[in-house]
Symmetry: C2
Subunit: 212 residues, 2 copies
């Protein structure tokens, strides 16, 4: 994985997509410049999850954008996804790596500095600093890092970082400014009237705040 692929990282949420199929959201988002796509489905049956991933795969592939599966290593293996994103309640990293092999992308959410220290000792491809801000799209999250917490986390991290939680056009400029490699966006793209234009606008903000 290239560090630049974290820049504008779309995390899907079917429930926030205003009834539009995810293929449409993702198709527009990659056309608008999203650099990575994570399929997150907490309620779907395994079969529906697999079928949805199979529909997104050619969309992502055509755009040269990695498709990452949230939590479910079986789904990632079934569809030949580019990797998985795991949280602290998901498969332990070592097991995930063993099942997926050395070449797949594995991202890990860290919810505090203790998690980050553990992640520094693992061969993960990136860490998600989660959440930076409180957010209505995930209700089970830990205490937010805040901007200063994120700055410290980015400094301490041995791996590329992506900021998660509360990422939208108003927040991502400052977030990129503290040196994170990218931002993970949910509703700011999934719920946008035009996911393509929203992605273009967000990417522009990200790029103009790179390496400040």
């Amino acid at each position: 994985m290239k560090r630049e692929q974290l820049r504008l990282y779309l995390v899907t949420d079917s429930g926030l997509s205003l009834g539009r199929p995810l293929e449409e959201i993702v198709g527009e988002a990659v056309a608008g410049g999203v650099t990575m796509v994570q399929l997150r489905e907490k309620e779907a049956s395994t079969r529906d999850f697999v079928e949805l991933a199979l529909r997104l795969k050619p969309v992502c592939k055509a755009a040269g954008v990695p498709l990452i599966i949230n939590d479910r290593i079986d789904v990632a293996l079934a569809v030949g996804a580019d990797g998985v994103h795991i949280g602290q309640s998901d498969m332990p990293y070592e097991v995930a790596r063993k099942l997926l092999g050395p070449d797949k992308i594995i991202g890990l959410s860290v919810e505090n500095f203790e998690d980050l220290e553990v992640a520094n000792g693992l061969n993960v491809d990136y860490v998600g600093i989660s959440p930076v801000y409180g957010t209505p799209t995930k209700t089970d999250t830990a205490e937010p890092f805040g901007l200063e917490g994120l700055r410290k986390a980015v400094e301490l991290s041995a791996h590329p970082t992506v900021a998660i939680g509360g990422m939208n056009a108003s927040t991502i400029g400052a977030v990129m400014g503290v040196g994170t490699d990218g931002v993970a966006v949910v509703s700011a793209i999934c719920s946008a009237p035009s996911p393509r234009e929203a992605s273009q606008e967000l990417l522009k903000i990200v790029n103009s705040n790179l390496g400040r």
Copy 2:
């Protein structure tokens, strides 16, 4: 898998275990003669599911009883379980077989005669005829087969069969009488005051109605 291993097949349900840890339920059940154990956890996080499976594994292994994981092929691979049980909304059989390899047990629930016909063309190790009766432990199930439907399904099946749904001391005698290879029991063991004695009692009924 030996056909006899289907005889008294425990499907776990943490919510029906009256607060007792599943290791205790399973330990008693295998001591009482259960021939196969399926770990079913629809609500647990991946990490909790894996940890629970790792706790059950030595208990089953010591008793020589296969440990089967419901739905989650990633969990089965992570813990080196003996196989998986998949339903019609889970991973498609061919994908499951590819991920698990030729030696693992794969059982498939069939909910009607159309599912059964499809299953006859697959290399599954057994089919679960589900549900035979209505049951409070699964609320999302299809129209029950009933005893005559079960008899017909057993006759038509190319694979060993296990009867699922409403299996308890009052029903399993007749169910075994129509020629099924075994019965899958949830609450009759998980909720019993003594899972061990309940298993012994159920196994006695199963064995006395074999090949009638």
